[in-house]
Symmetry: C2
Subunit: 269 residues, 2 copies
Amino acid sequence: MSHTTDLSINLATIRAQCDLRAACEACARHGIAWVAPWRDQLAATGLAEAARILAGNGLKATGLCRGGMFTTAPDALDDNRRAIDEAAAIGATHLVLVVGGLPAGSRDLAAARRRVADGLAALLPYARAAGMPLAIEPLHPMYAPDRACVNTLAQALDLCDALGDGVGVVLDTYHLWWDPELWPQIARAGRDGRILAHHISDFLVPTRDLLNDRGMMGDGVIDFPAFRRAVAAAGFGGPQEVEIFSTEWAQKPGEAVIATCIERFNSVC
Amino acid sequence: MSHTTDLSINLATIRAQCDLRAACEACARHGIAWVAPWRDQLAATGLAEAARILAGNGLKATGLCRGGMFTTAPDALDDNRRAIDEAAAIGATHLVLVVGGLPAGSRDLAAARRRVADGLAALLPYARAAGMPLAIEPLHPMYAPDRACVNTLAQALDLCDALGDGVGVVLDTYHLWWDPELWPQIARAGRDGRILAHHISDFLVPTRDLLNDRGMMGDGVIDFPAFRRAVAAAGFGGPQEVEIFSTEWAQKPGEAVIATCIERFNSVC
């Protein structure tokens, strides 16, 4: 039995092949119920039209990708407020935050982390007023310099503790699978009601590119059933969201990629 | 003033350019007091001759690289015992252990980690009898699948706690710099008398290859003075050891690489 209703396709996965409309139509043809679009895709289509495309294809949005970049964007607060508005306009369940790495020329990771905490605190009242949960995504430590200086689930949950309501975490297999503290921290995230999303992609051996060589589930070393069991035991019942940045998969037809996502979701995850 | 007496050259840094003898003679010409050879370099020269080459050039050995691979080597215990003997034969201060990743085809990271703990426990009596400290090197999480499933300093120190005397850790800037728990864990390592080595190399942005694109100190994002201060405050007074795996630096003359290591050590670290 195919459980496509528990699956979300992050549209970065087929970004090279499909614009927003083509991606949504392809997902609908395959019985997918959820997608996660990117802000540039909404901008290219127009926000109102994007919302119509989603609804017209029977699709709900898991996360909107993405806000954040508190350490590097010159107008981070304003831009993140716009991202919250856009997430609300398409009815997304949360806004994904990739928090940013080191500012250009800086080696002060502690300062970058303080700036992230300050940026989140400044943004949070607007998110709460909009009813839009902020989802901090801890990224793999190899992205600490240039993408996100939040690199473990424990660190993200400590930020949530300090911030209070209206903020949670993305649990992404690719970023978190290696962490010796993973299982207790997933349980903690569940107890605290912080789990907003469950992203899936595989870690390949060898990994030939730090950014664009993520694997289809089953092609790498991640134990997806163990991860799923931990997330379920922590009380999260939302869809699993496939997010694969991959030069290799970008060269295959979008429909074939979606079909493979579904097949692997059902056989591997 | 040049502090070459506080510097060790890990001979992987000039492996492509120099065999053991050439590397040691080059280091001696530059006033270096310490080197860290690799087992294959000792084997190529012969163990007794390798010891003579070191002594004849006034060089002491920091770590011998490397034992470990408890999860994948078919004869890990025997091979690690030979490594201990070799480390003792050259008078190394410790044997570096890269503990191994997932066995081929396995996705069971927890089982691999148990196997590492069991392998260390089995090896330790031999190491104690030889008076050779075992230095667990936690590697960056991007190496968890294929090189080492010990990926944080806290995890390595937990292993040390369970094992008792005769085992410690390598603090390598490249592997550890991103860790939100780094400073308290370095302090813990010092309190427990576990610091056996301090390796240095830089994390480049972008990193173009997971294995062979480490940076010369100063070319990347790591705050070396902060790391050094933490290590010194934790009570470690041994040399800093430059270990750079780099396709780029492998193409430069070995003497020029050593000269650059010294210059950067004095200006950056």
